[in-house]
Subunit: 119 residues, 3 copies
C-alpha cells in the first residue's frame, strides 16, 4: 500500500494520508525568541499552509493536540487561537504541558485533517 | 467537505468525525478538588456520554491517550480504568505525565472512536 | 460494530483497527536500566513486530508520537530513529517530553498504521 505523503524528508514527512485522512507532523514555530503570541501565530500559519497544500481547508481540521512547553502560556495561546479558529467549524482539541524539542520553543500543534474526496 | 461535529463551541468541538471515525476533544473532570479516583470516574463518565451521543458504544473506542498531571496517580487511575474497561474489547492506550490546563486537574483523556456505519 | 483488535488484554489492546487504520498502544522498552540508544532500539523493534502482526510494513506507518521522559535524550533517540526510518516513506512525527509510567522508562512511541486493503 502506498500512502500519499506531503514533503517527505530524511527523518519525517509533513503529513501522511491514509485514504481521506491526513496525519500531520507537529507544527512548530520558526522564531524561538518570540513570545507565545507570535509563536502561536507562526504555528497556525504553518498549519494553514500544510492544510492548503493538502487541498483542504481550515474547516477540514478534525482534531488538534496543542503542546505548550509552559502551561502559563495557555491564555496567550488561546487568545491567538480564538482569532484563528473557524467558529462554525472548530476542531476537537486537547491542550497539555509538554517540553519541546528546542530551547525557546513554546508551542507545537499536531493535527488530523480530512481530505477532499477528489484528492 | 462538511465534517460532522458534536457540540461545536466557539473554541472547539466535543468531537469531529471523518467518515466513520470520531476524533474527540480531551475529556476533563468537573470537580478539580477531587482525588484521582473521583476525577477518573468523572472523565470516563463524560467519555461514555460523548460516545453514546455519537451513537457508539464503549467497545467502539479504538484508542485513548491518558494524560496525568502527576504520574504518581497512575495506580489510582488504573484502578478506576480496570473497573470501567470492557475486557472483551479494550482500546489501545498510552499514558503519560502532562501538566493540564487548570490547577487541580489531574487527568484528561483523548479518544478515537468508531462510528456505527449507519450514522 | 466489531473492531479488529490485536492482542487484547484485560487493560488494553496492542492495536485496534477502524477499517483500514490501526491505532496502536504506546510501545515501551523492556529494559528500563538501558540507555536511550538501547531503549529506542527496543521500542522500534516492538513497533516493527506489531506492524508485521497487522500484516503491514514500515512504510505503512502514517504517524508516530515520540514521548521522551527527558528531552535531553532527543539526540540519542534521533540517532537510532535515523538508522531505522524508511527514508523513502517516513511517517509524520511529533516529539515531546512526557514523564512515563515506570521509573527508568525513557521513551514511548504511539503510532497510527495503514492496513493493507486485503486484511
Amino acid at each position: 500500500m502506498t500512502l500519499k505523503r506531503l514533503n517527505p524528508g530524511p527523518r519525517m514527512s509533513q503529513a501522511v494520508c491514509i485514504g481521506d485522512i491526513a496525519f500531520l507532523a507537529g507544527q512548530v514555530p520558526d522564531d524561538l525568541g518570540a513570545d507565545i503570541t507570535e509563536q502561536t501565530r507562526q504555528v497556525l500559519t504553518k498549519l494553514d499552509a500544510v492544510v492548503k497544500e493538502l487541498g483542504a481547508d481550515k474547516s477540514d481540521i478534525a482534531s488538534i493536540q496543542v503542546w505548550l512547553a509552559d502551561m502559563a502560556d495557555f491564555q496567550g495561546m488561546n487568545a491567538v487561537w480564538d482569532e484563528w479558529v473557524d467558529r462554525d467549524a472548530p476542531p476537537a482539541r486537547a491542550t497539555g504541558g509538554v517540553p519541546l524539542a528546542r530551547a525557546g520553543m513554546r508551542v507545537e500543534m499536531i493535527a488530523v485533517v480530512a481530505l477532499p474526496k477528489s484528492v
